[in-house]
Subunit: 194 residues, 2 copies
DNA sequence: TCCGGATTAGCACTTGGTACTAATACCAGT
DNA sequence: ACTGGTATTAGTACCAAGTGCTAATCCGGA
C-alpha cells in the first residue's frame, strides 16, 4: 500500500472537483492503480460516473445562463414600474455577492441594482449615468432581500439631465441611497410635448 | 411527409439549443419520427450527439466559473499595488458589459472596478464603502481597456474614515472618476503606529 | 503462518450513441 | 400503371464508459 486508500480517495475527490472530465481510465493512470480500484473508490465516496458529472455541470451552466440573461436587462427583478416616474426592483443577496470574510454584500451589487433600475425607469432608447452620489448606510448580508425604489425627480430635471433617486431597503430599513444624474439621448419629443 | 424535412430540422435545432439534454429517442417521440430519422437529421445539420453536447456545455460552465472566481476578488486585474497608498487595475470591456443598443459600457462595471480597487488598496480585513461620488465622463465601449488608478488620500483620512480617489482612463483619456469614503474595521494598530 | 482488507481481473449487461446496409414508403412525372 | 428519387424506417455490428457481480491475488501485521 504505497499511498493509503484514504489519502488516494481524498485526492481523487479533489481531482474531480477541479476537473470533472476525467474518465476512470485516465484516473487509474494518474493514481497508478487499476480501473477497478478507481471504481470502488468512486463508489465509496459516492462520486457519480463521468456522464452524470457532466450532466450536473452542464445543468449548472444552463441555470447560470438564464440568470445572466436576466441580469443583462436589470440587476434584480423589476416588480413595479411606471415609466419616467418610479420603479421597484427586488434583489436577493446570495453568498455569491458577499465578501467571504465578513459576509457583507459588496457595494457594487447594490450599486448595480440601483443604477440599472435608474436606467430602466427612464423610458428611453439610451439613458446613461453622468454622476451619482451613494450612501451605504447599513451592511447587507447573504439572504437579505433588497428592495430598491427609484423615483424620478421631475423638479430638478431639465432637458439635458434627469435626476433619479433610489432608496434600497431590507426589511423596511434603509441600507442604501443613491442619487443618479442621468443623460438621455433620445429624440424624446413625443413625451416632451406634454 | 406531414411536416417537411426542412422544417423539422429547423425545429430540431431550436429544441436542442434550448435543451441540449434530449436524447435521440426523446426527440423521435417529440417529432413523431423514428430514431434513425433523428440521427440523419443531426448528421445533416452537424449536430453532435448528446454526450458531446453536454461536454461542450459543461466546458462553458467551468470557464465561466473560473472567471467569476477571479471577480470574487477584484473586478479587473490588479497590475500594481502599494498598500494603503495606491493601486492600479486593468479591466477589458467586452460585449458582455455594454448596453446592447448603444454598445456603451453599463455604469456598474466601471463602478465595480473602481470600488473593488478601493477595497483592495486598503490593507485591511474589512473595508466597506460608506459613501461615494461618481462621474461618468466619457462613454466606454466594448474592446476598451480601462485602467483604474486608486490613490489613498491621507490628508483627508482620519481614524474613522479613509478616502480613496479613483480615476479610470481609456487611452489616456479620463472616462470615470470616483471618490470613495471607506470604513475600516480592523484592529489596525500595527500600521496605525507610524 | 494464516487472516482480512485492498486490489485486480473478468464477464455480462446498460446507454446512447456511430456506421453501414437494406428494405419500404411516398410522391411526381411520363 | 410503371419508374425514379427522396425520405423514412429497420436492423446489424460496434464503441465508450460505465454498473454489478464474482473470483482471484496481493500484502502486511499479530
Amino acid at each position: 500500500m504505497r499511498v493509503p486508500k484514504r489519502e488516494r480517495q481524498r485526492q481523487l475527490e479533489m481531482s474531480l472537483e477541479q476537473n470533472p472530465f476525467l474518465t476512470d481510465e485516465e484516473l487509474s493512470k494518474q493514481f497508478k492503480v487499476s480501473v477497478q480500484t478507481i471504481r470502488l473508490d468512486r463508489l465509496e465516496c459516492g462520486i457519480p460516473e463521468l456522464r452524470e458529472r457532466l450532466k450536473t455541470v452542464a445543468a449548472r451552466t444552463m441555470d447560470a445562463e438564464v440568470k445572466s440573461l436576466q441580469s443583462d436587462e436589470v440587476i434584480g427583478e423589476i416588480v413595479d414600474i411606471e415609466l419616467d416616474k418610479r420603479a421597484i426592483s427586488i434583489f436577493d443577496v446570495t453568498d455569491d455577492h458577499v465578501f467571504r470574510r465578513s459576509g457583507i454584500a459588496r457595494g457594487h451589487h447594490l450599486f448595480a441594482q440601483a443604477n440599472s433600475l435608474a436606467v430602466a425607469v427612464l423610458d428611453d432608447d439610451l439613458a446613461l449615468t453622468v454622476t451619482s452620489t451613494l450612501n451605504f448606510l447599513k451592511p447587507v448580508k447573504s439572504g437579505d432581500r433588497v428592495i430598491a425604489r427609484a423615483t424620478v425627480d421631475k423638479e430638478r430635471s431639465n432637458e439635458k439631465r434627469t435626476y433619479v433617486d433610489v432608496v434600497s431597503t431590507v426589511e423596511n430599513e434603509t441600507v442604501f441611497t443613491g442619487e443618479f444624474q442621468m443623460y438621455q439621448t433620445t429624440n424624446h419629443s413625443r413625451s416632451e410635448v406634454k
